[in-house]
Amino acid sequence: MNFGFSDEHDAIRDTLARMLRDHATLAVAHDCLEAADGFDSATWTALADGGWLGLAIAEDYGGAAMGAIELAIVAEEIGRSLAAIPFGPVLGLAIPAIQDLGTQSQRENLLPRIAEGRMIVTAALAEDGGSAPERVSAKVLQDRLSGRKSPVSFASDASFAIVAALDEGGTARFYLADLSDPSVSISALDAIDRTRPTSEIVFHDTPVELLPGSDPAAIRTLLDGAAVLAAFEQIGLAERALFLTRDYACERQAFGRQIGSFQAVKHRLADMFAKIELARSNAFFGAWALASGDERLSEAAAVARLAALDAVQFTTEESVQLHGGIGFTWAADPHLFLRRGWQLKAELGLADLWRERLLCNLADGQRAAN
């Protein structure tokens, strides 16, 4: 039985964690919260310089050709750092879409530049805030795209977007759109997490290129993979929020003792821990399924996502609560985690969506067995 990370994996984690601790501090996160564009470009550049952005890109395109397990480690550490960078849209969605579903020339044009940090390609899948990315109304006619996509993270910093839209036969496919085209208009949305610039994009007869491999099954697999990585990002975030709160509970005194010695506080922290570890177990299931290309990926992604959503929401809300009055202030850290948690929820769809994916997947499996 070998259901966990290896010593080599731990070494990768330590290297990245050190780098992130130097660059993406919570003070930087607070600054990004106040900035007009919250993108932390310094950390993004440092990640590119360290080779982290190309971790899962093939060597032919300037990457390190590592797999899903290594990517999961990166996701968790970036989640923990709260860095204001487009990990999910770029490493979770755009890179695998281009690499696995794109053309040779799309790969050659885009992947090296993404790996070097010279270009951001984001993903514009959802419409109206949270619908299933494969159920969209944006349409492509004769290689021209029209429709509205929202929310889109980091659209203002991105050169291109992978857009989910219906082809002429009414099937959802992925297209590559140049966001600098004059037919594209981007307007900022008032999102809960301003360290994650969020926009609505309106395309009007915008020239696009099809990613030819993007049939419905491939799109589902891609989203499942992104959900697994997001679960690791969520777990990193939740765990940091837990330890932040633990530290506060050890330091803060009331009624003549540390508040962490009261069961009302101690037991809530234990519940946070339990939810995070349960989510981690499902995320491991997801990472294994993603890395091995197992047919249970869809089920694994759904249970990883559901457990991660639950762990993040509980942990971040109770982190604010257990900090008391200070936790309710703008200057304190807990709300940074709360906000990021909501943003990560919005980017890949709410629990309802993933519950349905899980049940439909199990029902399909049962039918196949019969």
Partner: protein
């Protein structure tokens, strides 16, 4: 990251399977795994003894015990593999779990040479069956609060008191008993451990009926039981230290044991397709779908948590932090699933023949789940352990720590 055995693990598994194939029969598909360690009647005890003797004869008993004591010197992961493999066969319940998993290792560490020779071989072969006489009416989570007294009279100890929640006492031949020998010192310091013969007429065992209607544990009354000083396990007043060894081994036995069976969340999908809610099949109801999906996600989490525990064992490490959550989350999940199953079955047809079996099944799940939440450290104690040992939170304020037991 994978679920495969290492070459050594695979070889061990093959060897175990070969022996099991040659010595017993596989369960057929519909037969439930024997995941409990309680016998229902004397016949089951006899079958368990017979099976244990054959295992011991072939070297498959007390796997993790040292060879010096008749064991196999197996690693914890090999114990897990054995448990998995044995679980595929139609074998009687493992009524020797306490003797081999808890008492044996405690005797090895704290026992005299005489105690080791007298008790260890008979525990291994299944001649002796052990129970754990720890909890009392006034000492459950706070075990060190026990009141059963042992008084020294010349070369003997005279023990009187009451124990409770004693699993298997009705058919056990021996018990490991924690008693208070010195009430004039703080409670953790005045206890001593004994090994007692359950057939002594001074011990009376009465079954306790649980809320599910069945009886798997007992209250045990001890009235002037006289034992020689050679029945003492470990030093006088060192009972707490001895008890901690037993409890540590209990945790280990739980962590390598087969996860308590219970219902699979997918069974709720099957039920929801057969019953109606608001005039249509319940499976089409959004709330029903959401609840079932969440149950499945939680149950998968527990399943994959157990693989993480096994991975730690496989790497020769103690089960890590992940091991502590399974116990905390399992009981509550079973309880909620049981309640939901009853709701589903009940809204359709109450106890009619159509869903009668379902009602009974989920009701039983619901009424046995509280046992998971209480036995072996209640949910509340588990949370305190996670808080203090894993998260490093400050300990509870203790008002009883430095006070003589008699003053409490």
């Amino acid at each position: 990251m994978d679920f495969s055995d290492s070459p050594e693990e695979a070889a061990f598994r093959a060897k175990a399977r070969d022996w099991l194939d040659a010595n017993t029969t596989r369960r057929n598909g519909s037969e439930k795994a024997q995941d409990h360690f309680m016998a229902r009647d004397a016949d089951e005890v006899a079958r368990a003894r017979d099976w244990q003797a054959r295992k011991a004869d072939a070297g498959w008993a007390g796997l993790t015990w040292p060879r010096a004591f008749g064991g196999r010197d197996a690693t914890p992961i090999e114990q897990v593999i054995w448990n998995q493999e044995e679980g595929r066969y139609a074998v009687p319940p493992n009524v020797f779990l306490i003797g081999i998993g808890l008492v044996g290792p405690t005797v090895m560490i704290h026992g005299t040479e005489d105690q080791k020779t007298r008790f260890l071989p008979r525990a291994l072969t299944g001649e002796d069956i052990w129970c754990q006489l720890f909890s009392e009416p006034a000492a459950g989570s706070d075990l060190a609060g026990i009141r059963t007294r042992a008084r020294r009279e010349d070369d003997e100890w005279v023990i009187s008191g009451q124990k409770v929640w004693t699993s298997g006492a009705q058919y056990s031949t021996h018990g490991i008993l924690l008693a208070r020998t010195d009430p004039q010192v703080p409670k953790h310091k005045g206890m001593t451990m004994f090994l007692v013969d359950m057939s002594d007429p001074a011990i009376e065992t009465r079954p306790i009926r649980q809320i599910s209607g069945s009886s798997s544990f007992n209250e045990v009354f001890i009235d002037n039981l006289r034992v020689p000083d050679s029945a003492r396990l470990g030093g006088v007043s060192e009972g707490w230290k001895v008890a901690l060894t037993t409890l540590m081994n209990e945790r280990f036995s739980i962590s390598v044991g087969r996860a308590s069976g219970g219902a699979r969340a997918e069974e709720l999908i099957d039920l929801a397709t057969r019953v109606e809610r608001n005039g249509r099949p319940a499976i089409e109801d959004d709330e029903v779908r959401a609840r079932i999906a969440d149950f499945i996600a939680r149950q998968r989490g527990l399943e994959f948590t157990s693989y993480r525990v096994m991975t730690s064992l496989s790497r020769g490490q103690a089960p890590g932090e992940e091991g502590s959550i399974g116990k905390l989350l399992l009981g509550k999940l079973r309880q909620e699933m049981g309640a939901f199953g009853m709701d589903l079955a009940g809204t359709s047809a109450g106890i009619s023949a159509k869903v009668g079996d379902d009602v009974a099944r989920w009701r039983n799940e619901y009424l046995t789940a509280p046992g998971n939440r209480i036995a072996g450290g209640s949910d509340e104690i588990q949370r305190t352990i996670i808080g203090e040992r894993i998260l490093g939170l400050p300990p509870e304020v203790r008002v009883d720590k430095d006070v003589a037991f008699s003053e409490l």
